[in-house]
C-alpha cells in the first residue's frame, strides 16, 4: 500500500462511474478496543460485495482523504483514507491506517466480487511433505 495519489485515484473513480460495482466498506476500532481501555467502545462494521452504481465520485481533502460516491438514491461516504494499492489494476483498494499502521477504515471497489474464503483446505502432515486433502 502506498500513500494516496489523488489524481490517480480520481481517474479510477471516474472509470467505474455508471457501472455496477462491487463495494467493500468497513470501519473498525479493533476487537480489543474496550478490553485494552475500558473507556473505549469496541465498534466495527463492514459490508462486503454490495453492488452499487454511482453517477458521480470524488476524492477530496489534503490527506487523509475523503471519498463520496453519489448513487441513485443516496451516498457512499468514507473519511480518513490514507493509502491505496497502486499496483492493483483490477480493483481500487483504499484504506486509512493509523500511526501504528493498523487499518481503521477501508473502501474498496471492483468490477468483480471480492474474494471469499473458499481457498481453504485440510493439510495433514504440515511438519513433513504437505499432503493436501481435497
Amino acid at each position: 500500500m502506498k500513500s494516496i495519489h489523488t489524481e490517480d485515484v480520481q481517474r479510477r473513480l471516474d472509470a467505474y462511474k455508471g457501472q455496477p460495482i462491487y463495494l467493500h466498506l468497513e470501519m473498525t476500532t479493533g476487537a480489543y478496543a474496550s478490553h485494552q481501555d475500558s473507556t473505549k467502545l469496541t465498534a466495527s462494521t463492514f459490508i462486503s460485495n454490495a453492488i452499487i452504481r454511482y453517477s458521480h465520485g470524488l476524492i477530496t481533502g489534503h490527506g487523509p482523504y475523503r471519498v463520496g460516491l453519489k448513487t441513485g438514491q443516496g451516498w457512499v461516504y468514507s473519511e480518513g483514507l490514507t493509502h491505496w494499492d497502486d499496483s492493483d489494476n483490477e480493483r481500487l483498494i483504499m484504506a486509512g491506517h493509523d500511526q501504528e499502521g493498523k487499518l481503521v477504515v477501508g473502501l474498496q471497489l471492483s468490477s468483480k466480487p471480492f474474494g471469499t474464503v473458499n481457498e481453504c483446505e485440510d493439510i495433514t502432515e504440515v511438519t513433513g511433505n504437505k499432503e493436501i486433502k481435497k
Binding site: 494499492d85 492493483d88 499502521g101 493439510i123
Partner: protein
C-alpha cells in the same frame, strides 16, 4: 504433564494457537498427534504488517501461509482450515457448525479438546468457537466425552470462573513458541510488541494457563 495420543484444537484465528503453543509443543514431544481446526483466516484483522505489506484483499492468503508456517514451527501434524469468514462465527448456522465439529470429533476421537472459554474470551469469534465446542461435546455420552480445556482472556474472569486449574511451564519449548508467534509476520509486532527483546516481559510467555471446562 499429562500424556495424550490425540488432541483436537479448535480456535477461530490464525495466531490464536500462539497462546498455547508451548503446551502443544510439549504434548507433541511426548508423542501426541494434534489436529488444529482453524475456523477462519483472520481476514478482517487490522494489522497489515509493520510497516504494512498486506491489504484487506491480500491478507487472507498471507495469513493462511503464516498459519501453515506457525503449525510447522510447533510441530502440529494436521491443520484443517474451515474457511468461515472472520468475525462471523457467532452468526453461522449453529447446527451445521456443530455437526461438522461432531463429525470431526467422531473421526479423530481425541482425548482432549482445547478451545476458548465461552463468555470469557473477549473476541466474539473466540466466545462463539468455545460455545460451539461445548455444545457439541455436551451431546457426547459422558463416558466417552473428551476433556475440554479452555483459554480464558477477559479481565476479571478468575472472579467468575475461578483460577485456572492448569498452569504449564513451557520454558523448554520457548524456541518453538517464539517461532510460531513470529511466523505471523503480519501480526507479530502487534501481538508481542517488544516483549521478545525484554527478558522480564518474555518470562510471561513461559506460563500457559488453562481452565478445564466442567460439563454438568
Amino acid at each position: 504433564m499429562e500424556r495424550y495420543e490425540h488432541i483436537l484444537v479448535v480456535l477461530p484465528h490464525p495466531d490464536d494457537e500462539g497462546i498455547i503453543a508451548g503446551t502443544l509443543a510439549a504434548y507433541i514431544a511426548q508423542g501426541a498427534r494434534i489436529t488444529y481446526v482453524c475456523l477462519t483466516l483472520g481476514e478482517m484483522g487490522r494489522n497489515m504488517g509493520t510497516p504494512p505489506f498486506a491489504n484487506r484483499v491480500s491478507l487472507p492468503s498471507i495469513r493462511k501461509q503464516e498459519l501453515i508456517d506457525a503449525c510447522q514451527n510447533i510441530g502440529i501434524q494436521d491443520l484443517r482450515m474451515w474457511g468461515l469468514h472472520d468475525k462471523t462465527v457467532e452468526f453461522e448456522d449453529q447446527e451445521r457448525l456443530d455437526e461438522r465439529l461432531l463429525a470431526t470429533i467422531s473421526e479423530l476421537k481425541p482425548e482432549l479438546i482445547m478451545t476458548f472459554y465461552p463468555g470469557y474470551s473477549v473476541h466474539p469469534d473466540h466466545d462463539a468457537t468455545g460455545a460451539a465446542v461445548i455444545r457439541t461435546v455436551a451431546r457426547i455420552a459422558a463416558d466417552t466425552r473428551p476433556i475440554v480445556q479452555c483459554i480464558a482472556l477477559s479481565k476479571g474472569c478468575k472472579e467468575m470462573i475461578g483460577p485456572p486449574d492448569i498452569t504449564h511451564d513451557v520454558s523448554r519449548y520457548m524456541p518453538q513458541k517464539q517461532a510460531a508467534i513470529r511466523a505471523h509476520r503480519s501480526q507479530f509486532h502487534h501481538l508481542v510488541g517488544d516483549s521478545f527483546d525484554k527478558p522480564d516481559k518474555l518470562a510471561r510467555f513461559t506460563k500457559e494457563r488453562l481452565w478445564t471446562y466442567k460439563l454438568s
